[in-house]
């Protein structure tokens, strides 16, 4: 299969993830959508790695996985903290930072 196909799939997953971030108010799901976007990026990286025949892209993808793991840890920690404080788990209602 041509590399272009992989890239197309990657682009579609990325856009689905972006739409999910925009329409879902649950922070847990927003985190999941972020995972989607990161994975779309990973797919593109690996595809390009294949295209050039070099492994640097895969290295990059692995680092992205690490970052994603960190982001998940902190994000889930935040969600647990929010829950502990009896605050609504809904990003629309967590809006103290408004101007």
């Amino acid at each position: 299969m041509a590399i272009g196909w992989y890239l197309t799939v990657s682009a579609l997953i990325f856009c689905i993830g972006a739409v999910g971030v925009m329409i879902r108010p649950n922070p847990l799901v927003i985190l999941l959508c972020l995972e989607l976007m990161l994975n779309a990026g990973n797919l593109a990286l690996v595809a390009f790695s294949r295209m050039w025949g070099r492994e640097d892209g895969q290295i990059f993808a692995l680092i992205v996985m690490v970052v994603a793991a960190c982001e998940v840890t902190v994000g889930l920690g935040l969600i647990v903290a929010i829950y502990r404080r009896r605050l609504p788990i809904n990003v629309d209602e967590l809006s103290e930072l408004h101007g």
Partner: protein, 233 residues
């Protein structure tokens, strides 16, 4: 054969992605993401990235997703309410996403990159094996490797601190009563200039929410107290 496998995997991945976004119960979203990740691992394999595929399944679909499941179970998988604010965004968001997707496709179609339409570089034995990846991590990419490990440590500590159980509510911060004395217009602090009383965000007692005289001239700045959550921080 490859094409069949690719389409199967690609459809699986896309379906998983759509499931994550579309399913109303967060628990089902997590499950959809797991399936999406496994499909993605298959795509990685097709791209001859064996180690990445393995890591994807073991670390991502395995460990990280288990974490998600735990949290969902802990927090409770409430369904999203049907009527929620931001209705306009619900319509606009798919449009924005579609716009980005079309732009990316145009970019791929119009690109001068020849390799995109090929099947990739000639296969070299050993490409993408743990051996090669490990050698790269310990030689060329040693520094990013170490930084990544440090990042993981920081994230772990941060998560512990964030999710730690506090002992009761923290004491109310003392608010200097002088800050609430009536003052003449055009005198005061930066906080007041922005429409806030100093310390207004930390107190919930209504009698303390006296706005400065000067702020009456800007109604836009008065709403701060109304949006406060009921439980004090």
């Amino acid at each position: 054969m490859t094409a069949v496998l690719f389409f199967l995997a690609a459809i699986g991945a896309l379906a998983g992605a759509v499931g994550v976004v579309a399913l109303r119960n967060p628990f089902y979203s997590v499950l959809a993401l797991v399936s999406h990740l496994i499909a993605l691992a298959a795509l990685f394999l097709l791209l001859r990235a064996e180690f990445v595929a393995a890591a994807q399944v073991v670390v991502y679909a395995g460990a990280v997703m288990v974490l998600y499941v735990f949290v969902v179970a802990y927090v409770g998988g409430q369904d999203d309410p049907l009527h929620r604010p931001g209705g306009a965004l619900k319509v606009l968001a798919p449009l924005f996403g579609l716009a980005v997707a079309i732009e990316l496709c145009i970019a791929m179609l119009g690109t001068a990159l020849k390799g995109i339409s090929s099947d990739g570089a000639p296969y070299v034995p050993g490409f993408g094996t743990p051996e090669h990846i490990g050698a790269l991590f310990l030689t060329t990419y040693l520094f990013p490797f170490e930084v990544a490990s440090l990042l993981l440590l920081v994230a772990a500590v941060g998560a512990v601190v964030l999710a730690r159980r506090r002992r009761g509510l923290e004491p109310e911060p003392e608010v200097d009563p002088r800050l609430h004395a009536p003052r003449s217009a055009f005198s005061g602090t930066m906080a007041e200039a922005a429409g806030f009383r100093a310390g207004a965000g930390t107190t919930t007692e209504p009698e303390k929410q006296i706005e400065p005289i000067g702020s009456q001239t800007s109604p836009a700045g008065v709403g701060s107290a109304a949006d406060q959550p009921e439980g004090g921080w």
